[in-house]
Symmetry: C2
């Protein structure tokens, strides 16, 4: 599959590398077509990797991942272009973490709204699926790093898009994908970040994940 990834940070690079390893063609999108970070990633990731602008990556992908920082996601997606996202599955991995008031970060949107909903609202013709935002980047693409059972949450308004994302997640190694319903569940998925950050402090590792125990 051709997959576009917006964002050249750890999350974008980690997901991109994993997708290339799984045999997909991946274009990493940055603000600039000549991003050194993206070029370095391409030279490491091999012949199925390429890079370009946000718009290039969005146009290239049959599926597009939003791996930009949550505070700049709407701008990055605007640069990617509504036309390039139309009809496509847009996997939103971002968290609206606001570091401008120091540590720990707060959420720039929460409770009565969410980044996932704002993105769906701004790009009504994209099929937004929130996923993977509740864990460390290494765990996202290699769930076996965390022992025992644990879960990835997804939500979104389009059933087929969620099925497509679920399939991709299973190819990453995910055995338990919990569908929380429509995109408004992004509120809960993003609001889990504050306890994730405290857990990282308590456990002294980012290599953990949530599991929902139930009968």
């Amino acid at each position: 599959m051709r997959i576009g990834i917006l964002g050249t940070g750890v999350v974008g690079q980690t997901i991109g590398t994993r997708l290339v390893q799984l045999g997909h063609d991946v274009k990493l999108g940055a603000r600039s077509a000549t991003s050194d970070k993206a070029a370095k990633w391409v030279s490491d990731a091999g012949t199925h990797a390429s890079h370009g602008t946000f718009a290039d990556a969005a146009a290239f992908g049959e599926i597009v991942f939003n791996c930009t920082g949550g505070m700049v996601s709407l701008d990055a997606l605007k640069a990617a272009g509504a036309d390039n996202l139309r009809g496509k599955t847009l996997v939103d991995v971002a968290n609206p973490l606001d570091f401008s008031h120091g540590m720990p970060p707060t959420l720039s949107v929460c409770n009565t709204d969410s980044l996932g909903e704002q993105i769906q609202g701004a790009f009504p013709d994209a099929k937004v699926v929130k996923a993977l935002n509740t864990m460390n980047a290494q765990v996202m693409v290699n769930p076996s790093l965390v022992p025992d059972d644990h879960d990835v949450f997804i939500c979104g308004n389009d059933t087929e898009a969620k099925a497509r994302v679920t399939e991709l997640l299973r190819s990453f190694g995910w055995r338990s994908v919990i569908n929380l319903g429509d995109i408004s569940a992004a509120r809960g998925m993003e609001m889990i970040l504050p306890i994730w950050l405290r857990l990282m402090g308590a456990l002294k590792t980012p290599t953990f994940n949530f599991h929902i125990a139930h009968s």
Copy 2:
């Protein structure tokens, strides 16, 4: 031990009954000294159960549980009286769920503050420990209702108070108590409620709980 419980709803009654079964003397506190609900609970719970006003219950308890609705907790605690809470461990089980705008509820405080912190701020001489707010009342007092490993979170500023609450939780059957640090972790513990509500919808049961998988 003598334990005061503020609030006569399902959470207060369920915790109260369990504590009586474990051999403690429990006074359930209500807005009024003649609450029918509290009187009914006493007649069911046996000779170690009693009831009274919020102030009666707080004065009675060596440990006090706040099981009132989060929107009215500060008022209930004011009625309980700072003098009756001074120096005591105050276990805050409440969630600031605001149902006034319809379903699902939103949080009346979150992100940059929490109910746990507001209570600690208003009652600086009480030792507030946030605990048990992240699950169904039956699971709180009988964790074996949920199969496999799962966790209860606690936070608070006073190490000894957290140790005392941990001991009580172990007597309920809890094997994994995760200490998230000072009371500001109440933000994360309360902000987990929106995903809890979505999970209840997805799993079609309230009998589940979070487990943190890690090596």
